[in-house]
């Protein structure tokens, strides 16, 4: 009972982190960094609810995805065509998200701070012997694998990596640096958007003004954790999800909390992530042109 809830809990907690990290990995491979993931998660979580209430859960997921893609597009345009500062733009998206959603909640439903997603428009779960499982768990895994495939086994993947390593070379080889990077930006936004939709109309069935609660930053850390490999983003997401659940399970034990204060138990996911990175993963090489705008002339 406890074990199965622990496993299912970890799987669900993995989804937003792995999915968001997967998109961002592809984008960073192309040299584009977006630290506005937190904001995208939140805004898409919000729009997904609006979409789902109007046209059902599938539409909700789609709206979330498109919202993310749109924000990614704006970020991409600023970073690529206006050669803007990617970091500032990302920070702006985060601040914007916090305001927009809090304001939107009141505006849309006349209720401050939160809104419950009606059961009928939530993403239906798959029932398993251990409990309900969101189909998005599978989607997240499949997306990570597909992204890995895209990056490592296709021409587009070659282009993406080239654009991140040496945009001038890619340009000389007839690759449109701008378009490829823009694709990366939109892709990262879209996946974060889908993850946001998962938060609101699937996993938590609610939208609050801070629903993302730092997961965008954890995803960013997972990008680093993974060494820009989407398959390792699954591992990162699972480690984080598992220890997060484990910490809360452990916190319910009086026997344990008497020995180790629960605050220290709840540090677990962060400490374990650090230990894994320091002990196993180590140095991560980022694309050489990461974060730098490309100018031809």
């Amino acid at each position: 009972m406890l074990i199965s809830s622990l496993i299912l809990g970890s799987l669900h907690a993995m989804v937003p982190i792995t999915m968001t990290a997967t998109g961002e990995i592809l984008s960073e491979r192309a040299g584009l960094v977006n630290i506005g993931l937190e904001g995208i998660l939140l805004i898409s979580a919000f729009t997904a609810v609006v979409g789902a209430e109007a046209y059902g859960p599938l539409a909700g997921l789609l709206v979330g995805l498109l919202t993310g893609a749109f924000i990614g597009l704006i970020h991409g345009i600023i970073a690529i065509y206006f050669r803007g500062d990617q970091t500032i733009s990302g920070v702006g998206i985060n601040v914007l998200g916090a305001g927009l959603v809090a304001f939107g909640l009141v505006w849309q439903w006349g209720q401050a701070g939160f809104h419950q997603v009606p059961r009928a428009v939530r993403v239906p779960a798959i029932s398993t012997p251990w409990g309900p499982l969101s189909p998005m768990v599978i989607v997240a895994l499949v997306l990570a694998v597909l992204t890995w495939y895209l990056m490592n086994r296709t021409n587009l993947g070659l282009k993406l990596r080239a654009v991140g390593e040496n945009p001038a070379a890619a340009d000389a080889a007839g690759v449109s640096v701008e378009k490829v990077r823009l694709f990366g930006a939109v892709f990262a936004g879209a996946l974060a958007g889908l993850a946001g939709a998962f938060l609101s109309i699937d996993w938590l069935a609610t939208i609050t003004k801070n629903l993302s609660a730092g997961r965008g930053f954890i995803a960013l850390a997972t990008v680093v954790f993974s060494g820009l490999n989407p398959l390792l983003a699954i591992v990162g997401g699972l480690i984080f999800g598992f220890f997060n659940s484990l910490a809360l399970v452990a916190s319910t034990s009086r026997e344990l909390t008497r020995v180790i204060p629960y605050q220290f138990l709840q540090m677990l996911p962060y400490v374990v992530t650090l230990l894994v990175v320091a002990g196993v993963i180590g140095r991560v090489r980022f694309p050489r042109a990461s974060g730098q705008p490309y100018r031809r002339e």
Binding site: R153, L158, K159, D171, G174
Partner: protein, 533 residues
């Protein structure tokens, strides 16, 4: 003023060369090309370039003359501000590299345009094929095999290119470009990183390609090469056309005059006889490990005396870089000892070595020698920034006024062309960046100057200026350790030459023993004995 009204084909340019046969029509015409960069730099002003089918056409000019710019326009990388491009008499519009490649125009860039962590094969496949389909490695491999057979250029296809020597990378560039486009082949300073032998081999290939109908445009600063391979040359100066002429019948002096408008040219230096004195640098059984932990410098011994230039010749990648890094405190010495004026170098960092009288002109100026994003002024104190000279009364405060004066002085003395000492280092041309670096190092009043590839990629005048400076140092009685892949340079400057091959110094020759052939063979690992035997 360059004479633009003069006809540029043959007639007015002296005797028609062998290439100017009537059968050859104009393959490519670039007419009235003007290029203004977004920052307002007018890099090209109404330049015409006419290239015939099957010729090897040289493009000459000083650093910053606009050669690369013109060719980037032709290869679709840069949009032109004004002008027309005609291919076989028909106007074409090049909006991107893809357009140019479609017309069969390909370019081998001055700065490598390979993705460093890709293999040769991946670099070749890059940019081709449908986005979602798998890269067509098998076909690419076949094409490359065929190309390698045809050209005789051999490269490993499955090693990340960053792990390959620069010469090999250059060959990959050429093969990659030939694979994409073989009608018009542009090469921007392809020989800057090649050994004489490699260059010769490349030229054989180019000649054969030209015979088979490929039109080749070659940019180089080496006049010997221009004379050796091109049919005609076009010279640019300051963004304007100086003229086009047949190569046959021209001398190096003629070309140099066209380029710089004066006679300064060939590599001869004013060397005074300096009484050879005690060594300033003594290297004894030095061993150094490479990045991968394998020995790359193996029991090397030599000495550099005061008042001499000791040249190290060798194909790039035979341990010269590591040797220099070890001697300048940038890399650990794993065995043996080096003495700078009698004091051991081992275990000392750059700062201590500077204090002992070392100056270092690094071979990769972009990586080590300067900070492109910082100003010229800030770059002039790189490495000497702790000097008391630049301090203020307040403890630890830099006196920028003094630094500015110092920088202006260096800029002036070493003839660095810059908009000012507050200009970003990056905005200087390669030659001027190098002059600043050399100027900075020589201003340290060193007893030993270690110079790696000091004139790589520089135009004739800039290279000459640097060579003069090095010889000046020698003439003042200081020692110079010169590492260069440019054999002509090493031979003209050095008092003695050590030839390095696979981490060893195969032979040390003194001036009267210098012989291109022999050194070239040594660079290829062929010892005297084996020739004799």
């Amino acid at each position: 003023m360059p004479n633009r009204s003069a006809p540029r084909q043959g007639a007015a340019m002296g005797a028609p060369g062998p290439a100017a046969g009537p059968a050859k029509q104009d393959r490519l015409q670039m007419l009235g090309i003007t290029k203004v960069y977004p920052d307002g730099t007018r890099a090209l002003d109404n330049v015409d370039l006419i290239v015939r089918r099957g010729e090897v056409h040289g493009l000459l000019g000083e650093n910053g003359a606009g050669k690369s710019t013109l060719m980037k326009i032709l290869s679709g990388i840069l949009p032109l501000t004004a002008g027309r491009i005609l291919l076989d008499g028909r106007e074409i519009h090049l909006r991107s590299t893809t357009d140019a490649l479609a017309y069969g125009i390909g370019m081998v860039h001055q700065h490598f345009s390979l993705v460093p962590d890709f293999t040769a094969l991946e670099n070749v496949v890059l940019g081709r094929g449908g986005n979602l389909s798998a890269p067509a490695y098998a076909e690419a491999r076949q094409r490359m095999q065929r190309l390698m057979d045809e050209t005789g250029l051999r490269v490993p296809l499955d090693t990340p290119v960053e792990e390959l020597p620069v010469g090999t990378q250059q060959r990959i560039e050429i093969l990659k470009t030939l694979d994409r486009a073989s009608d018009i082949l542009i090469l921007d300073e392809p020989t800057a990183v090649l050994t004489p032998q490699e260059t010769d081999r490349l030229f054989d290939v180019l000649r054969r390609l030209a015979r088979e109908g490929t039109t080749i445009i070659l940019i180089t600063h080496k006049l010997r090469e221009v004379l050796a391979i091109t049919d005609r040359v076009t010279v640019l100066r300051g963004g304007r056309l100086v003229g086009t002429r047949d190569t046959a019948g021209a001398t190096a002096a003629d070309l140099a005059r066209m380029m710089v408008g004066s006679e300064r040219m060939d590599i001869s230096v004013q060397r005074e006889t300096v009484a050879a004195a005690e060594p300033v640098l003594r290297v004894e059984n030095l061993r150094v490990l490479g990045d991968d932990g394998n020995p790359v410098v193996k029991d090397v011994s030599f000495e550099v005396r005061a008042g001499e230039i000791f040249g190290i010749a060798g194909v790039t990648g035979n341990g010269q870089s590591e040797l220099v890094e070890a001697l300048t405190g940038l890399r650990a010495i794993s065995g043996g000892t080096a003495y700078l004026r009698g004091q051991p170098v081992n275990g000392k960092g750059p700062r201590q070595l500077y204090a002992m009288g070392l100056a270092h002109v690094p071979e990769d100026r972009h990586r080590h020698g300067m900070v492109a994003q910082m100003t010229v002024m800030e770059n002039t104190i790189l490495g000497v920034h702790h000097d008391k000279r630049f301090r203020r009364g307040v403890p630890g405060t830099l006196h920028w006024g003094k630094v500015r004066r110092y920088a202006r002085d260096i800029v002036q003395r070493f003839d660095v062309v810059t908009a000012g000492v507050n200009a970003a280092m990056r905005s200087l041309s390669g030659g001027n960046q190098q002059k600043l670096v050399v100027g900075r190092e020589l201003s340290k009043a060193p007893t030993l100057v270690v110079a790696g590839q000091p004139t790589r990629g520089l135009d004739v005048a800039a290279a000459q200026a640097i060579r003069d400076l090095l010889v000046g140092i020698r003439n003042q009685g200081q020692g110079v350790l010169l590492v260069s892949a440019d054999l002509d340079e090493v031979m003209s400057l050095s008092d003695r030459i050590g030839v390095m091959y696979e981490g060893e110094i195969l032979a040390v020759l003194s001036r009267d023993e210098f012989d291109r052939e022999r050194i070239g063979l040594l660079m290829g690992g062929v010892r005297d004995e084996s020739v004799a035997g």
